[in-house]
Symmetry: C2
């Protein structure tokens, strides 16, 4: 399960009644944050998110409304007693910016592991009860694909199977903004359903069924047993995508394809503001809805509203005429994304 | 007149219902800000302060709860269309910290004039309808003192008289905190009352009275006329002092002497927390009240409350038993400091 909370829904400047866009993802009792504008720590406190269990911060880009809350948040996390490292991901160049801002914090009781994303695929794993990011390489080995072990982790200490649903696939897309900007997509794979008929037919000893269904390869003195021997057909997992601060790009529909939840900027509600959107490298509600539709997503949340837009709700028809399942984001909007019963 | 607004009253961390301590001073239609923690720009917006006319930012020290709002505020001021430079004052070492934080702002449409305060006396003048800071040197010349021209400004373009009540004396005091920290005091001098009997007795032509009363020295082909020839006895001006993040020091009572308003940290309300106060280099309500009393101030505002202190009001007796005119600071508390009628 992924639990998501939109900590803020504003763009550009923090406002008294609207925090800056950022998203908190709760996963397996740990947390991932996307973007950290000024006031994000206040929003986290308001929505009772807690600080100590935040393991990963994904930054879309280096503009102030997405990063100026970082020094304060990290200081507060430091005061929470955390000593485990925090991974910060962002586009190339982000390390220099973060290190500059950190000059005002002479000491943090934990390390920062800053990853400038040059590849497009990563995975997130539970290691010692903390979430860790690893760069991944797509496998072409069919068996591995069948076993749902899509990724080969560089660190051998990390289990590659999804035995306890504590691994996420993290994909990254370069966007089209006035500064290098990344879109993020999280995929929580789901095990294929257990198929006892198949297991019986292949004469798999019952004592191995559970381990095989959990994705482990089992060997005894007779045979090697693969998970595919007890598993039925593949099942779709949960997909969450987050795209802000960009013009629409041709790659976005594929990137967000079949997302259960697509969170997307809607800086301008009025479609007549498209010229402004083009100039400032943002999107209108209608453009975001068009992407949601092309990507066959299940639900769209609009966020990152221009501070000049007092009442974004008055423009919702511009989105809903194109994509019915559009929700107007607001500070504190929250949802649990769960596997459907099947 | 000085109009002051406490933008926030919290210390340590910004909270959903309490912004971080900072003070906005409106003076002659321009603005001076003391401290700028995360969220200060939001508080300024909430209390409708406006951004463009902010000329001077005084930072007490480099701790995050006093400076992390700076990059966001400066960006927002940049968006307001300001092109005139902004002066930032702070203790020695602040320049490196500010420049580090500024790495995330590749362009500001105005210059930052960062002053690391090595002296103790400055003056603030209206130059081209903006407030500017100048380092000052105390004069010993009696005539000048009598003429109320206490300061000799290095820049000859700046008028040294108080003809239009648009000059302030800014004094600075080194405090006792875990990082170099400054207290600030602002003094708005008041002209002595006009004394027509004295002017008549000294046979001053009536046509010179107004200029002399405004502080100008007038010469004609007969005599040189000094302001003291038409002015009565000296009158006290308006004094505002701001002291946060320190233990009590022996210098503070003199520094805040006879302040009309003394704004002071009260990190801990409970006098039993004095051990914590000593360890963390802060003060209890009782200690702040003792300073207010020793300094013969007219009114004390407590601020910079520990985030662990839910209800600071329950400790107010600890201060009021020592200094009756203690006010519990709160976000948005505002007051106009005016010359008394006399």
């Amino acid at each position: 399960m992924l639990n998501v909370t939109l900590l803020g829904s504003g763009g550009g400047m923090p406002m008294p009644d609207r925090f800056l866009s950022s998203l908190l993802i709760k996963f397996a009792s740990r947390k991932i944050l996307i973007d950290c504008g000024e006031g994000t720590q206040v929003a986290m406190r308001k929505y009772k998110s807690g600080f100590k269990s935040l393991d990963i911060i994904c930054l879309t880009h280096d503009h102030g409304d997405h990063i100026f809350g970082l020094p304060g948040l990290l200081s507060t996390i430091g005061n929470s007693g955390r000593t485990d490292p925090i991974t910060i991901m962002g586009p190339v160049g982000i390390k220099r910016i973060i290190e500059g801002m950190m000059v005002a914090i002479p000491f943090l009781p934990f390390d920062l592991d800053i990853v400038e994303c040059t590849g497009s695929s990563f995975s997130i794993h539970m290691v010692s009860q903390k979430l860790r990011v690893k760069k991944t390489y797509l496998e072409t080995n069919d068996n591995k694909v069948n076993d749902n072990n899509y990724y080969n982790i560089a660190d051998n200490n990390i289990s590659t199977n999804d035995t306890d649903n504590t691994s996420l696939v993290l994909s990254i897309l370069e966007l089209d903004h006035s500064s290098p900007c990344l879109g993020y997509s999280f995929y929580l794979p789901r095990r294929p359903k257990f198929n006892p008929e198949k297991a019986l037919e292949a004469k798999i000893p019952v004592k191995y069924w559970s381990r095989l269904q959990k994705g482990q390869v089992v060997m005894d003195n007779k045979r090697t047993y693969h998970p595919s021997m007890v598993r039925g057909k593949e099942r779709k997992g949960i997909k969450l995508s987050y795209i802000v601060d960009t013009r629409p790009t041709a790659d976005i529909p594929d990137f967000i394809h079949e997302s259960d939840l697509f969170i997307c900027e809607g800086t301008y509600g009025d479609s007549d503001d498209m010229k402004k959107a083009i100039k400032n490298k943002h999107m209108t509600f209608a453009e975001s809805a068009q992407l949601a539709s092309l990507g066959k997503t299940k639900e769209l949340w609009l966020t990152h509203f221009s501070p000049a837009m007092d009442k974004p709700e008055q423009y919702m028809d511009n989105a809903r005429q194109i994509f019915v399942k559009t929700v107007l984001g607001y500070d504190g909007l929250s949802k649990s994304l769960q596997f459907p019963e099947s």
